[in-house]
Symmetry: C2
Subunit: 190 residues, 2 copies
DNA sequence: ACCGTAGTACTACAACTGGAGTGGTGTCAA
DNA sequence: TTGACACCACTCCAGTTGTAGTACTACGGT
């Protein structure tokens, strides 16, 4: 019988995200999720039909958790309207994403897994396209300088910057990374 | 006894790269490598002490194969010295990397695996830092416009562009991606 | 020309690990 | 009383590893 307890289901999905980040797609098993969530062996089996199901739901959940909270959005709508302001905001986004390290790493694992799972690919494509569009709209509406390409190019560069920071932190130093954020904003706003 | 046949060892490592890309880190087993390389079961066991050993050697090998060949380097040193020229060159790099799809995906898998394997992290950091530095030096020496930050920022943006192309190709269309390359070069050269 | 040896290819085996799935029992609340 | 769920235990199965053993090939010495 498929269980309906949504609190527990969410807890299991969050546990799955942690497992993905910590152990990789290789380590994502029902058993590992059970252990991470601190529930008895066999529980995850009762909540998800199979691995595919679990991965797909995790894909949706991560994007839910990566969304900025309301306070942050409000914050971004106040204050000055210049390039320095953009740099601060972008740095904030990079820091926020970096701080949800397990989420970001799990998302990368899912991207790779999506290569082999059409259902997962569909889900991720939808969420990510929506996220990019939302960023564009939000930026254009904010009155900050920069056009659509600005936003997308910043998205590209900052994503990889986060990848470097989270996977091989010694390629660039911490200071260099902060400088790169500033530099990227300066040049891409033109 | 550890086998020394270097041709076979290389073939096994290349097979490991294909397995990584196709099956993910989850699927990288000695058996799978044997099968991919078309050699009898147990062969990979004779060539690599353990999974760690195999992964580390794969990390070195990928970067070897991702290097541009001599013809391409020579090509990049001829011709005009302007922004359009840079755009063409960058597009070439993006296409070349994208075309070695399994190599790039395997490298991503390895990056994630490096989170958990210090030995692998060391190897990858060394190679990638060297690659970035080489790109910077090469670019500055070429007389093309753009400074160090230009090169690094292009590196960041183009890497993620390739990630998008290879993992979720429908987020951006093929045309949009080519336009983004041009746009990135235009703005980052400033 | 013959032989011994070292390195390697190939095959097979034996044991182990870890996970999936399922059924059963107890508990709680409507 | 009934339905949903938590918890637990048990079985079955698939996949991997590491190694032992045998056969082949090339090469150097005599």
């Amino acid at each position: 019988m498929v269980r309906q307890n949504t609190a527990r289901r969410t807890a299991l999905i969050d546990a799955a995200i942690e497992v993905l980040a910590a152990e990789g797609a290789r380590g994502l098993t029902f058993r590992a999720v059970d252990a991470q969530a601190g529930v008895p062996t066999g529980t995850a089996s009762n909540y998800f039909a199979n691995r595919d199901d679990l991965l797909t739901q995790a894909g949706g959940r991560i994007y839910e958790r990566l969304q900025p909270d309301a306070a942050e959005v409000a914050d971004s709508r106040s204050g000055a309207r210049d390039g320095d302001r953009v740099a601060v905001l972008i740095q904030g986004v990079v820091d926020r994403v970096s701080s949800f390290k397990s989420g970001y790493l799990a998302l990368l694992e899912l991207r790779l897994e999506a290569t082999r799972r059409p259902a997962l690919r569909t889900v991720l494509t939808k969420h990510i396209r929506a996220d990019v569009d939302a960023n564009i709209r939000h930026h254009l509406a904010s009155g900050l300088p920069g056009d659509e390409d600005t936003v997308v190019l910043l998205y590209l560069a900052m994503n990889w910057l986060v990848v470097e920071r989270l996977t091989l932190p010694d390629v660039f130093g911490e200071d260099e990374m902060r400088r790169l954020v500033t530099s990227a904003v300066e040049r891409l706003l033109a």
